[in-house]
């Protein structure tokens, strides 16, 4: 490998690679799926309910509400400010607490609270805020809460929300779609347009060419993995370890892409194989979607060893001890795939020199 020539080829890949249809698709598809999933299962744009308060007196209720993590509270100085904030959606509900509100409640008097509701607020927010206020008022008055709700899970439900179940699929798609498809389509395109033939008679070796294509795939795929975790609020925990795992997963994706690119003659065949053979890449995500499936089945598939550490760190807060075994298997698979690439190059007449 020659670093200068690889850098020249890498420059070409970075300048001209993003102009390809596959590059755009490799970015758009995983992010599109993420947005659809997060919108459907509510993580991306769902914020805490927002309550606006104008307190004419000095109510303890305001302090009690502000201590709650489940509601965002904003305090206003007069009714018109509160109304304006509610009207433009700064708060879901605005309430006006009268003077001597606490005294009246404690004495058991009937008190009217004037309230405003933003017309576009979510129904769940319109429910959460009044119920929470009613509970706090009862507490202020020194009364028992009249109803206590106990949740009982029925059926096979394990309690894992769907946005968490889909995250492994989204991560795998982000990492493997770009990481695999970009080097493979680029290589096949160069074979079909015969530009590869022009490159291999320069002093650049086929190794330089392969490495430059792999690096673009690895960079894109690592970036996509991070982006999807960030969009799903799952990147915070132990991010350096997470990036390292994503990087080695991206290396596996790029290596598989190079093997596919070296063996497959045209883009149509590549897509046919992707559609039919993609199951082998994506099989491990099913155990996260449906936890009742035994985990050993997923271990048959190499992508499991890239996926499990990501899930362990990002969703279960795990650290090095929880992922070390699978991570070493992942590194081993990456090294083994280098051997496969060398073998493919030796067997393929196209790259023999």
């Amino acid at each position: 490998m020659n670093i200068k020539r690889t850098a020249v080829l890498l420059g070409k890949e970075f300048i001209h690679g993003p102009k390809s249809f596959m590059f755009v698709w490799a970015v758009i598809a995983p992010i599109g799926f993420t947005l659809i999933a997060t919108l459907a299962f509510g993580t991306l744009f769902s914020e805490r309910p927002k309550l606006g308060i104008y307190d004419k007196g000095d109510s303890q209720l305001v302090l009690n509400i502000q201590e709650l993590d489940s509601i965002t509270t904003k305090v206003y100085d007069n009714t018109s400010e509160l109304k304006q904030a509610t009207e433009n959606g700064s708060v879901d509900i605005g309430i006006v607490l009268p003077t001597s509100f606490d005294d009246a409640v404690k004495q058991g008097e009937s008190v009217t609270i004037e309230g405003y509701i933003w017309g576009e607020s979510l129904a769940k927010n319109r429910t959460i805020i009044p119920v929470t206020i009613a509970d706090l008022v009862r507490a202020l008055a020194g009364q028992e809460v009249p109803v206590e709700i106990e949740s009982v899970t029925l059926g096979e439900e394990t309690g894992i929300p769907w946005n968490e179940r889909l995250l492994p699929f989204l991560v795998l798609m982000g990492v493997f779609f770009g990481g695999l498809m970009l080097p493979s389509t680029s290589l096949i395109d160069e074979k079909q347009k015969k530009t590869l033939e022009a490159l291999v008679i320069t002093p650049a070796s086929i190794g330089d060419i392969f490495i430059s294509k792999a690096i673009l795939g690895i960079v894109l795929s690592t970036f996509m993995g991070i982006a999807i975790l960030v969009l799903n609020n799952a990147f915070g925990a132990n991010s350096p370890l997470l990036v390292m795992v994503l990087l080695f997963g991206a290396i596996m994706a790029a290596e598989l892409g190079l093997i596919a690119g070296a063996l497959i003659k045209d883009i149509t065949t590549l897509f046919t194989i992707w559609k039919s053979g993609g199951i082998f890449l994506f099989a491990p995500v099913f155990i996260y979607m449906f936890p009742q499936i035994p985990e050993w089945i997923a271990k048959i598939f190499p992508t499991y060893y890239a996926l499990q550490p990501v899930v362990e760190i990002s969703l279960q807060g795990g650290g090095w001890s929880g992922i070390s075994t699978n991570f070493f298997i992942l590194v081993g698979l990456d090294i083994a795939l280098i051997g496969v690439i060398i073998l493919v190059l030796k067997k393929s007449r196209q790259f023999r020199s």
Partner: protein, 288 residues
């Protein structure tokens, strides 16, 4: 420094059971233009691929500039330029971008891409995307690309195929300029006139073997028939043809007799073409 830039020694290559190149041996002197002729499937491209390090021969050895090609692929490829028959430029790049990419891969730093493009007649279109070029322009750019490293050996595979006369002539001039610079040129072509005009020697390849290798003049001497062709006016005014073989003891008498007895309208000499010679040797046409 050896005299020969290219030495092919007993080169053999098989695609499965098909023998594409069958124990061929030849050499090309430094600064020489060798025309490599043969019909489709004769083994020309496979030979070029072996010589340029794209294929390893099953048997034999290729030596370029005193280097064993198989063992020194990168060093050999640093000294050669290849212009392919099929266009294999980066279509979405401009001409300048194409040339600069290959110059960088060859490690060429003092490189004037504008001057090179001017030389091949592409001045003014340097920054256009190659996909908007005509076939002739693309071919001229391919030739320019093969020259970015000022190679010692230039492999040109059908460089003028399908081009208009102006583009063809421009490429032929560049070939002659490169020879003047000292480059050795391995020219694969179907165009007999071109081979005859440009080549110092020509090799005929047929069914994986080299069946003849010599200067065009010697091949014509050896295999061709020289003749005089005359048009005469007969007594009733009709034009008739007469042919006199120039290589017989009776030639002088026959020529004298022609002028004494007939009314000669036109007369010219005719020599065999390389195409005629190829047919004579192989029984096949080059364009088969």
């Amino acid at each position: 420094m050896a005299q020969n830039a290219i030495i092919a020694d007993n080169l053999t290559y098989l695609y499965g059971d098909l023998v594409a190149v069958d124990h061929i041996s030849f050499s090309v002197a430094r600064g020489e233009i060798l025309g490599f002729l043969g019909p489709n499937g004769a083994g020309k491209t496979t030979t070029v691929k072996i010589l340029t390090g794209q294929l390893k021969p099953k048997e034999g050895k290729a030596t370029l500039l005193d280097m064993d090609v198989t063992r020194n692929v990168e060093r050999v490829q640093a000294e050669i330029g290849v212009c392919f028959e099929e266009t294999n430029l980066y279509q979405r790049m401009s001409a300048i971008e194409n040339l600069k990419l290959f110059a960088r891969l060859f490690g060429v730093t003092d490189f004037d891409s504008y001057a090179l493009l001017k030389r091949v007649g592409l001045a003014g279109r340097e920054k256009d995307r190659v996909e908007n070029y005509s076939k002739g322009m693309k071919q001229r750019l391919m030739v320019a690309r093969s020259l970015v490293s000022q190679p010692q050996i230039l492999f040109l595979d059908e460089p003028t195929a399908g081009l208009d006369p102006t583009s063809s002539e421009a490429i032929r001039n560049i070939i002659l300029e490169e020879r003047k610079r000292g480059a050795t040129i391995f020219l694969t072509t179907h165009d007999m006139m071109e081979a005859d005009k440009l080549s110092d020697r020509v090799a005929f390849m047929n069914q994986g073997k080299i069946v003849a290798l010599d200067t065009p003049h010697n091949l014509k001497q050896q295999y061709g028939k020289r003749a005089l062709k005359a048009r005469i006016s007969s007594k009733d005014g009709r034009l008739e043809s007469r042919e006199i073989d120039l290589d017989t003891p009776q030639t002088a008498d026959a020529v004298r007799g022609l002028f004494e007895k007939e009314k000669v309208v036109t007369i010219h000499s005719e020599e065999a073409t390389l195409e005629d010679i190829f047919i004579k040797i192989t029984g096949r046409r080059l364009t088969e």
